[in-house]
């Protein structure tokens, strides 16, 4: 059953790594450029900031 435990461990490690990477990706995806030139960063705050 060592192989089973190893597979379980690897599954957990992959899950944790994916969570870290995608969380960062999600944060970057929260920044939106609008056609009016206003840049909105939903991750930092909910207010609009002009760049």
């Amino acid at each position: 059953m060592r192989v089973f435990l190893l597979a379980l461990l690897v599954a957990c490690v992959i899950t944790a790594v994916a969570a870290l990477i995608l969380d960062r990706f999600q944060t970057s995806a929260d920044i939106a450029n609008t056609t009016s030139g206003v840049r909105i960063n939903f991750a930092v705050d909910t207010s609009n900031t002009k760049q």
């Binding site: 089973f4 190893l6 597979a7 379980l8 599954a11 992959i14 995608l22």
Partner: protein
């Protein structure tokens, strides 16, 4: 004097209001024109949908699809999601469990006819077992967390309460998204490890015709994988591929992709709704089939589980269920690796 002015002002306001109010019932009795004015307060939502097929407004942002507020397809999808899907899931899972229980009662456990020989042969290498368990453990987590999406609100929420259900569902959602990558890696490993053994052969038809030796007492010859195991393999690979594609569409909806066609698909509301439908149905069917796989690999068949726990099976088990493969591995060309069991 000032009272007169006030009276005149009041009359000046009252007359147009009275005229407008008197005219209103007349216009309400006239038939509804073909062209519905969506901004009219008297227009009902259902009537508007019937006439226009969807309710949309005017926007200034580039993506014009954002203007759609209500679309009938969205209502159909919600209806399917809330009533049809749980019905399919209940039939697939409860039906399979009922069949397995009935099968165990009627057929009983598939026993080793000649008992354990005391000698074992290696059936699966460590890499094969690693791929199997990586796929299996991640699939169990994905299956349970996916079932929570479909059935959680109806069955789990009343038992654990709103606060606990919210906490569990939030973490279940994270697990469902992030553990998918382990499942995909497992699929890749088992595909390359076993695809060569799972190509259909003429022997598979005989195996199916004779009921696989489970129905009745015959034991049709089989190589490393019999037709039933090949079915599970292809269901896992093709079903897993479908779940992967639709799952990542749901995880990354409305994102641009390298190809224009793919971007069009991934940014269409209808495609995302279809992806959810396919993902849920395929997932439920796979859960039902994997339940049967778990049954036959554990309590359903004597001597089967060790092939995935230790990687070895009893020689008599190999000869009874996989006679062609057993002859091959026992021969000098196949390595002849039979060892006494500890």
């Amino acid at each position: 004097m000032s009272r007169l002015i006030e009276l005149a002002r009041a009359l000046a306001l009252a007359i147009p209001i009275a005229l407008f109010a008197g005219a209103a019932p007349v216009s309400a009795q006239t038939p509804v024109p073909k062209q519905v004015n969506p901004t009219a307060e008297s227009v009902k939502e259902d009537q508007l949908l019937k006439e226009l097929q969807r309710i949309e407004g005017r926007i200034t942002i580039p993506d014009k699809r954002e203007a759609v507020l209500i679309q009938p397809a969205g209502r159909d999808w919600r209806e399917w999601r809330q009533s049809t899907l749980p019905r399919i899931g209940t039939i697939a899972i409860i039906g399979m469990l009922a069949l397995l229980i009935l099968f165990l009662i009627v057929r009983g456990r598939v026993r080793l006819e000649n008992g354990f020989s005391g000698r074992t042969v290696q059936r699966f290498t460590a890499v094969e077992r690693f791929g199997h368990w990586l796929t299996a453990t991640s699939f169990i987590v994905l299956g349970l967390t996916g079932l929570n999406v479909t059935f959680g609100r109806d069955y789990l929420l009343p038992v654990v309460g709103a606060e606990t259900f919210t906490f569990l569902s939030q973490w279940a959602k994270y697990l469902h998204n992030y553990m998918s990558f382990a499942f995909v890696l497992g699929l890749v490993i088992i595909f390359f490890a076993w695809v060569i053994y799972n190509l259909p052969t003429a022997r598979d038809f005989r195996w199916i015709a004779e009921g696989g030796g489970i129905i009745g007492n015959k034991h049709p010859p089989a190589a490393k994988f019999n037709a039933g195991q090949k079915l599970v393999f292809w269901v896992t690979i093709l079903g897993g591929l479908t779940l992967t594609i639709t799952g990542y569409m749901l995880m990354f909806p409305f994102y641009s992709l390298p190809s224009t066609t793919l971007t069009e698909i991934n940014t269409s509301i209808a495609a995302i709704q279809n992806a959810q439908v396919i993902h849920a149905v395929v997932g439920l069917i796979m859960i039902a089939i994997i339940l049967a796989h778990i049954y036959i690999g554990t309590i359903g068949m004597e001597g089967a589980f060790s092939s995935m726990s230790t990687g070895e099976v009893d020689e008599n088990w190999a000869r009874q269920h996989h006679s062609v493969w057993a002859e091959r591995v026992a021969s000098p060309e196949g390595g002849g690796r039979t060892v006494p069991a500890e």
